[in-house]
């Protein structure tokens, strides 16, 4: 002990509960606010994701306006407006001014965010870096409410600075947020613009207008079709973690173990429930709320050993092959597009679905490695690509089979963008930053199967294209060389150059025609 004057009592005085907001203040790097440029991107990401979710859930085709104005070297004003359902007045300040408050945290369902930190985290970041309050304007179609709020860090409570109510003759509905934050603006691979562009690819029913420091860009919608609404499911015993199990036990309203297991989990019938209790040596009639620590642990282990059906998989909301192609088409200038949606599969009791799209050729750079666009539940992932299951799956796929060169351990070479969408009720991120998907074997396998199918379809296109080019080249090559050949022959033999050219042209035409007929006649039998 270095300081003998400190007593246990002194220490106890210093101990107190740490509020979530206070925790965030000290650990903001965990939530995407580790440097000025990433912070700005994270703010935009939270705003865009929220707006897309809100509008889609309400069955409204989203129209989102994002604007970023540079106020000073390192200070920006960010405005976001959507046409979603808005938030009722009573919940408005709580929804934005309290961390871990939201509609998404308590359910198992495919959605963009899950933690309930999202926009309130952004508000807290603004407050920490600029000291300014955030303005939130909301309407559900009735009156328009405008509040200015800050977050009381110690209490994790909203602090309303001002509240105005206005009439709404146009029946506008939606949310508008105006905030001021410290940041750094860049445009490149990991930037606000790239995030919005990729969001537009994954949300072809959304119109996004972006007004940034370097000008205005509009990302139009290409469809009015609304995505299928994902269904909420109960956790499957194979996917539940012990911490979550404890929480479920303590909040359960069931009176006995069989009731708890059959009603709070999916795919657990009376038979399986009794078997679990037997394996765990727990009385099936026991009240779940009074299970002790070791009983919970035994139950957790028992749940993994009992044979169960896979969870229902028709609960996800994939993009679909058609919309992946259209999403890519509108944002990528390429000549060929292909998309593959796999059927849903299961990892650790969680249903998931993998989709792959490839854009090839056109204006994409010829001699660089393929670009990877990653999405988890329709949210673009821009950081930590090399740690992500998507990158591992692309690298592990043998692209040489589809006519692309690829050095070992790398992405394939060629003018292409590879899109991978991972949809699941629970996305296994590798870290809090939520930027990379963990490499469960089931996930990698599904991704590789989708990539292989897309690769096969792409290779057919590329092969046909090369065949056409060869045909064209053949004629061109011969015609290009004829004058040189004739000139050389003239020098060697003294024979008339013009006559040689004429004769060579006749032979060439005849030969090219013959070859083409042969090709057409033989169809696909021709050697590759």
């Amino acid at each position: 002990m270095a300081d003998k004057n400190v007593t246990a009592e002194d220490l106890a005085k210093k101990m107190r509960e740490v509020s979530v907001a206070e925790f965030f203040e000290k650990n903001r790097h965990l939530l995407g606010y580790e440097n000025p440029s990433k912070s700005l991107l994270t703010i935009v990401k939270e705003l865009v994701d929220n707006s897309l979710d809100a509008a889609n859930e309400a069955g409204i085709g989203p129209t989102i306006k994002i604007s970023i104005k540079q106020l000073e070297e390192d200070r920006f004003k960010i405005t976001a407006e959507d046409n979603g359902p808005g938030i009722v007045e009573e919940k408005l300040s709580l929804a934005f001014g309290k961390l871990l408050y939201g509609s998404k945290f308590h359910r198992l369902r495919q959605s963009r965010g899950t933690q309930g930190i999202g926009v309130s985290g952004a508000i807290l970041y603004c407050q920490l870096t600029t000291g300014k309050a955030t303005k939130v304007i909301s309407s559900t179609g009735k009156a328009i409410h405008e509040i200015e709020l800050m977050i009381d860090v110690m209490k994790n409570e909203p602090k309303i600075i001002s509240h105005k109510e206005e009439k709404n003759p146009d029946k506008w509905h939606g949310i508008k947020i105006v905030m001021e934050a410290e940041g750094r603006y860049t445009e490149g691979k990991q930037s606000v613009l790239e995030y919005i562009k990729q969001s537009a690819v994954a949300n072809p029913n959304a119109k996004i207008i972006y007004d940034g420091p370097n000008g205005k860009t509009t990302f139009d919608k290409v469809t009015n079709e609304m995505p299928v609404q994902p269904q909420e499911i109960k956790p499957h015993p194979y996917g539940v973690e012990i911490g979550i199990l404890r929480r479920m036990i303590s909040t359960s309203s069931s009176r006995n173990m069989t009731g708890f297991l059959t009603s709070d989990f999916s795919r657990v019938g009376r038979g399986s429930a009794l078997e679990m209790c037997k394996v765990a040596k727990i009385d099936a009639g026991k009240k779940p709320q009074i299970l002790d620590h070791s009983e919970t642990e035994r139950l957790y282990k028992a749940m993994q050993t009992v044979k169960l059906m896979s969870p229902p998989t028709n609960v996800l909301s994939p993009l679909g092959e058609k919309l992946i192609e259209e999403g890519l088409k509108k944002e990528v200038e390429a000549e060929f597009f292909v998309a593959v949606s796999r059927s849903p599969a299961v990892y650790r009791g969680n249903p998931f679905q993998v989709e792959v799209g490839i854009a090839y050729g056109g204006k994409l750079p010829l001699d660089s490695t393929a670009q990877l666009m990653r999405f988890a539940n329709k949210v673009p992932l821009l950081y930590h690509q090399s740690d992500c299951a998507t990158a591992e799956a692309v690298v592990d796929t043998d692209w040489k089979r589809y006519g692309f060169s690829q050095s070992s351990g790398s992405l394939p070479q060629g003018p292409m963008i590879v899109l991978i969408h991972f949809a699941s009720v629970w996305v296994p991120y590798t870290s809090e930053g939520k930027q990379a998907i963990a490499d469960y074997p089931e996930i990698i396998k599904e991704m590789k199967l989708a990539l292989q199918e897309a690769g096969r379809r792409l290779s057919i296109y590329v092969r046909n294209k090369n065949k056409m080019r060869d045909k064209h080249m053949r004629r061109q090559i011969f015609e290009r060389y004829i004058p040189e050949v004739a000139e050389s022959l003239h020098k060697l033999t003294g024979k008339d150059k013009k006559k040689i050219i004429e004769e060579l042209e006749v032979i060439t035409k005849k030969n090219v025609k013959l070859e083409e007929e042969k090709e057409n006649g033989e169809g696909n039998k021709e050697e590759a």
């Binding site: 050949v485 050389s488 022959l489 060697l492 032979i507 060439t508 030969n511």
Partner: protein, 358 residues
């Protein structure tokens, strides 16, 4: 000679023109140059090209360009021969390099494209590069009691000072006016050559001294071959005792794999190997002057063990000795026995007793 070359170039063009006028897909026959198409003829003791021929067609996407390139080189060399002008391989590349009209394609992108076409043409026409008026590298020197005529100049090899006469790349037109010698001694290294020259070895022994300065250039090989056949002179080769030195000897004697098609004009099958052998090291007690053999030396020796032209028991013994002892020795190691040991003891003894390897 020039007339014959010209005739063959015209024949090559004539065949193509004939095929064109018969509305056939024109082609050029090129013998294949690869180890698989190389054979060793024990009777003539030469590495020779096999009879495999590839046809280069104009109307074939894969051949068209090299077909055109072959004719471009042929036409350019015909102009050289017609005008009596000579040029280097590099010059020829620049003479022919240009961008084809209405395209971004070059006739030749770099010299590594034109050099093989020249060898193709040598093989197809059965002429030497020098006969196409194309000069190769200049390397190799010679001294001796010999007078030659080269481009109208009379040159006495004995009066060229300490460096001797630099052997030109084209030995075809050189005329031997007076040759007074009992034998030719070919030395791998320039330093050893200068040592012998300084000691007036060629005057005392009545011989011609040639240094190849490493692997023998074509001009040097042609000079050795012409002197030995035209003047019936025995040839003795003197190299380092290692696989590379011995291979220099084998190229002089049998020819090389890459130039197998010209072995009959560049090879000297009667050449004998004088030294240095690893047996010499033992005989003259030079062990302390040896060097540790490198990995590459041993690998080369292993390859050479398998070559048909190294199957003589004496050579098998030397190569195996090297693999076993794992050392090699330079010519200079003989100086360990005294500066004059080479000229006064080693060489005279070897030559007098005819202690040669085949």
């Amino acid at each position: 000679m020039a007339k014959e070359t010209k005739k063959r170039l015209e024949q090559l063009g004539g065949k193509v023109v004939d095929e064109i006028s018969k509305k056939e897909n024109p082609s050029i026959d090129i013998p294949i140059r690869s180890l698989a198409n190389t054979v060793y003829d024990p009777k003539t003791r030469q590495i020779k090209l096999g009879d495999k021929v590839s046809k280069r067609y104009f109307l074939n996407v894969a051949h068209a360009k090299s077909f055109m390139q072959t004719l471009l080189v042929a036409a350019a060399t015909k102009e050289l021969v017609d005008g009596g002008a000579h040029t280097s391989l590099r010059d020829l590349f620049y003479m022919l390099k240009r961008t084809l009209p209405n395209s971004e394609e070059n006739t030749f992108d770099d010299q590594s494209e034109s050099d093989p076409v020249i060898v193709d043409l040598e093989v197809a026409l059965d002429v030497l590069r020098e006969q196409l008026n194309l000069n190769a590298d200049i390397r190799g020197r010679v001294v001796g009691n010999v007078t030659v005529e080269d481009r109208g100049d009379e040159i006495n090899w004995g009066k060229m000072g300490s460096g001797g006469w630099a052997i030109p790349s084209n030995m075809e037109e050189v005329k031997f006016n007076k040759v007074k010698a009992d034998y030719i001694l070919v030395i791998e290294k320039n330093a050893a050559f200068e040592r012998l020259h300084e000691d007036k070895f060629w005057q005392n022994q009545n011989c011609i001294l040639v240094t190849t300065q490493g692997q023998a250039a074509r001009g040097t090989r042609r000079l050795i071959q012409r002197l030995s056949t035209e003047h019936k002179l025995p040839v003795y080769v003197f190299t380092d005792a290692d696989s590379y030195g011995w291979y220099i000897y084998s190229v002089i004697k049998f020819g090389s794999i890459s130039l197998a098609h010209v072995s009959d004009r560049l090879g000297t099958p009667n050449a004998k190997f004088l030294g240095l052998t690893l047996s010499d090291i033992e005989e003259f007690e030079l062990e302390k002057f040896t060097i540790k053999a490198e990995e590459v030396d041993l690998k080369r020796a292993e390859e050479m063990l398998k070559y048909e032209w190294f199957q003589a028991p004496e050579w098998q013994r030397e190569l195996k000795l090297m693999l076993q002892k794992k050392y090699k020795a330079e010519l200079e190691s003989l100086s360990g026995k005294g500066l004059k040991f080479v000229t006064e003891k080693y060489l005279p003894k070897k030559i007098k007793n005819k202690e040669f390897l085949p």
